[in-house]
Subunit: 429 residues, 2 copies
């Protein structure tokens, strides 16, 4: 590959013309491919089909005799707490096993902070003139949407190699009591694939914050979602916070959405016992209890840590070839041109693609015009606005390999077309 | 039975002594009976055991091809909307089928009103100096708890024979813009068993309200929960509101909690299309979608209107003897004494018992001291305070008949003991 900037205008135009022909061929195929969301594919869902009938007409009680069919049990069944305690790194009394959505749990937690305040809040956050929230970006659009919807001011935090820019964060939170928290996807981060280094975790746990009720929303969505046999290691944030004397600082969330069925999973939260007790008091107003039958179903199906790990290896077998394909095509078609860079995650659900600044929206639009739906450019940033307009989140898991190949072959053409357009415009200017 | 007031002091003391002996016998039995909550009994839960395994490894798609295992479908699957449309009296676009708890749906709706306001609100309710909510009482403690938790001022509304006191309500809502809504359990009301008359429904729909964003929370929890073959008829509130030009006034809630499994049911809401669209925008921030698998499970199991009706008749067969037993014992032991009155519901989950004023707490305490747990006296009123201290909610469904009989035999003794204590104190004073 020749670096674009080293090419003459004529060479660029010739290359553009060839690429445009290829693009046209794709357009004529009238593709309808969707790479927009991090959805498991059918083969992954099939891995959990035993969940559909693993209970029987006589199997609805927990070991302690609780009838999972009836009311009660605000914080989830004992077996589920035991099953997930290892990846929540928590004791049973530090865990709530809830309904089907960890996003809902996070949303509801922040609603409670708004309406009631946290235990150490001087006032409900909705009574304050401004509430600000830190958003390491590119990040998860649905996180940012929750805090935006609640009227908070979103502050973009840059990512470095080993996690969010801690210098930036420490400076901000030390100075501004209106900054009440930070969104974190600490492992195989959505979409960067980054796992926070021990140093980053420790600094998050230790940093002084002007707000006494500062909270880390630790969405460990991809805690066991490895693509390789040498998974990233993430430091235990709750232990780090305790050691720093900030035991109440963090709420850890996880779910089975991408272990089993995204629609019908179970979500969970762990935190200090005092945070959990506070949360239970609030949840007790909202519901009589979660779906215990579905919790029992997951316990029966996943069994134990070994069961979960074996299950996740089956996922990796299905999706790793897709990640490999995406990277192979990016490398083959864009490598060495200095018009794009991309992540090489060891787990999770995304590959993060950075185009030249100012190109991402155009690339996504061009792909859409040829029938390939990508995550909207900008979606990975607060307010849907990527300040450099360069990040595109790629979700390789859902499409079959053959479709993924087509989509990627089109995408790399789009990236090159838009890059050349921009370079030609620069030369002309 | 001789009326208590017609008895001499000596006769009262003799009667008290005999009752006290019976009470002591109960105490010696060391009973441990629970009549405190409206929980279905094991036999009722068993009616739905097919739900546990009615799906198979190949049955996870809706008729339109939606894979219920994966993400998506914010407002529920089409089949579930179709199945429940008849008792929600709504079109599919006026329905959201959600997670496992209608209480959560109601709670979350009011949180949204607090944080964001309703479509026609001038401001989020949390920004107003005072928000008031009408609470027909005795009513459902968990309803009142939601509005109390949100810092609203609860206004007790009396019940008349055919529903809440509309004169009282009309006067209040016409004058006070801080009154933002009313809790209603319109059919087989918890705990009075009352079904609102057509006149009450029409007046609720038509009444002028000072608040432009006034809402009726219509918790039709017992919509198909009949005890007889001549069920109460309830007027369609949504149609009445539309006819009155107040189409956005009401949100109707229901769930399958007491059709099938309380822990693992599905909850639903219907309202005007504009209300539902507003709600969907908010729910879209909170979750990617509800548990569609569990919705499909209920569709497969309940099938259609006839299926639901046949299923509910089986419930009635199990619980009607319990309601009959409770009333028989009340009538036999307390009838004609003018020390208590009780409801005679045609459906629902409760019998409402009124003692003499000032006796309910003592009766509940006395029953507890002999091992029978009742709903705390006062629980059916705002702030847990029954102004006359006379209402006791009886929940006959959960205990087996033999235990229910023991509990009721003790209860009527407690009612008489406390009534005589009060009468003797009155005479002595």
């Amino acid at each position: 590959m020749i670096e674009m900037k080293a090419m003459s205008t004529t060479a660029l135009q010739e290359k553009y013309s060839l690429l445009a022909q290829s693009y046209e061929k794709f357009q004529n195929q009238k593709l309808k491919l969707d790479m927009s969301r991090g959805k498991p594919c059918t083969e992954q869902l099939d891995l959990s089909n035993d969940l559909l009938d693993c209970l029987s007409k006589t199997d609805y009680k927990t070991a302690n005799g609780t009838d999972c069919r009836n009311y009660g049990g605000l914080d989830g069944i004992a077996e589920a707490k035991e099953l997930f305690a290892w990846f929540l790194e928590a004791k049973p009394q530090e865990i709530i096993i809830g309904g089907s959505s960890s996003l809902t749990m996070m949303h509801d937690l922040l609603c409670r902070a708004m309406l009631h305040g946290l235990p150490e809040s001087e006032a409900p956050w909705s009574k304050l003139p401004t509430v600000k929230f830190l958003c390491p970006s590119p990040g998860y659009d649905r996180h940012f949407a929750v805090t935006e919807h609640l009227g908070m001011e979103l502050i973009t935090i840059n990512y470095l190699e080993d996690g969010p820019d801690m210098d930036q964060i420490e400076k901000l939170v030390a100075a501004d009591p209106a900054i009440k928290g930070i969104w974190c996807v600490p492992k195989y981060s959505n979409p960067t694939g980054i796992t926070y280094s021990d140093a980053v975790v420790k600094r998050l746990a230790n940093m002084p914050t002007a707000a006494s009720d500062f909270r880390i929303i630790w969405d460990n969505a991809y805690v066991v979602h490895h693509l390789t046999d040498t998974p990233d290691q993430l430091l235990d944030i709750r232990k780090a916070c305790e050691a720093a004397g900030h035991g109440d600082r963090v709420f850890v969330f996880a779910s089975t959405s991408k272990l089993n069925f995204p629609s019908a999973g179970i979500a969970m939260v762990s935190s200090s016992e005092s945070n959990i007790n506070w949360l239970k008091k609030h949840i007790n107003i909202q519901t009589i209890g979660p779906d215990k039958i579905n919790q029992l179903r997951h316990v029966r199906f996943l069994k134990d840590q070994a069961g979960i790990e074996a299950h996740m290896r089956k996922h990796a077998e299905i999706i790793k070839p897709k990640f490999d394909l995406v990277r192979d095509i990016l490398e083959a078609e864009l490598g060495g041109q200095h018009i794009a860079s991309w992540s090489n995650p060891q787990g999770g659900y995304f590959i993060s693609l950075d185009t030249l600044p100012g190109c991402a929206r155009k690339v996504v639009a061009k792909a859409a015009a040829a029938g390939v739906l990508l995550t909207p450019a900008g979606a990975t940033f607060p307010y849907g606005k990527d300040p450099e307009d360069k990040n595109i989140r790629l979700s390789p898991t859902f499409p079959p390999l053959s479709e993924l190949k087509q989509a990627m072959e089109l995408l790399v053409i789009c990236v090159q077309l838009v890059s050349i357009e921009q370079e030609l415009a620069r030369i002309a200017a």
